[in-house]
Symmetry: C2
DNA sequence: AACCTTATTGCAACTATGTTGCAATAATAG
DNA sequence: CTATTATTGCAACATAGTTGCAATAAGGTT
């Protein structure tokens, strides 16, 4: 159903994502907000913000969930499908707006793809 | 250290991977072998077989670990870096030997990338 | 074949991420 | 201000994966 009521918790989380271009892992968010709200609340708010296409999510290399701001999405056109880049040195993750084209695969119908790139970010290079 | 002793358990797991070209999730393997060996043993054998470059691993869309046979790898040249394809209908996962080129990203040093493709497999198309 | 060394295994307990049910709380419409 | 119900906190649960340690068994040596 998405976010209906602009509660204090929703605002707090939205502000955090508006203050950075980086992706934030749920683990990091729980740690950062543990004195202010319950982890269940965090999971649920993130879910609702993704439904509203204000955030999008993906899995990092260790399988934990990350979220980042959406830019060109609306709730009925929610296709923030771009690669994500994780720095092996500082751990920072961000969205990269490059086009990775998946070639046709014989006899198979490609629907979408997740690309997770590892390397060194601008600050760690 | 890799596999040193060819135990019954190691042989069982190797046979399973040699009977198919498909990837197998650890979850599936634990289920299939639960009457024959402990899950800890399974995790540890898979780890050692990966060290030996007989298997390689990656994460599926839900974050669980999958393993598949290596083809052109040796323990000091273990770069089974190809995309993996997960069928949204039957759940089957396999290695696809296509080249997905990651374009250069300004100011960033790309080291490697994981590509997970979703779609319908030959049997489900 | 019996023996020794130590890699491997099973088990139980633990960690971590994520989910669920339900009662209490608080946004907001009227 | 009041009523409705979306949202929250909490505790309990689910599942994937890890760890320490004692028991077992490969496989080399005598
Ligand atoms: Mn993104
Ligand atoms: Mn593969
Ligand atoms: Zn960095
Ligand atoms: Zn299929």
């Amino acid at each position: 159903m998405g976010v209906v009521r602009k509660t204090k918790s929703v605002q707090t989380i939205l502000e955090i994502f508006n203050q950075t271009e980086e992706a934030i892992s749920v683990v990091e968010l729980i740690e950062r907000l543990k004195s202010q709200m319950n982890k269940t609340t965090i999971y649920r708010i993130l879910e609702r913000l993704e439904e509203d296409a204000l955030l999008h999510s993906f899995l990092g290399h260790d399988g934990v969930k990350w979220y980042a701001k959406c830019h060109e999405c609306s709730s009925h056109d929610h296709h923030d499908v771009h690669p994500h880049f994780q720095c092996v040195d500082c751990g920072k993750v961000d969205c990269v707006e490059i086009d990775v084209t998946i070639p046709k695969i014989p006899n198979r119908q490609v629907m979408n793809s997740n690309v997770l790139i590892r390397g060194r970010c601008e600050e760690c290079v």
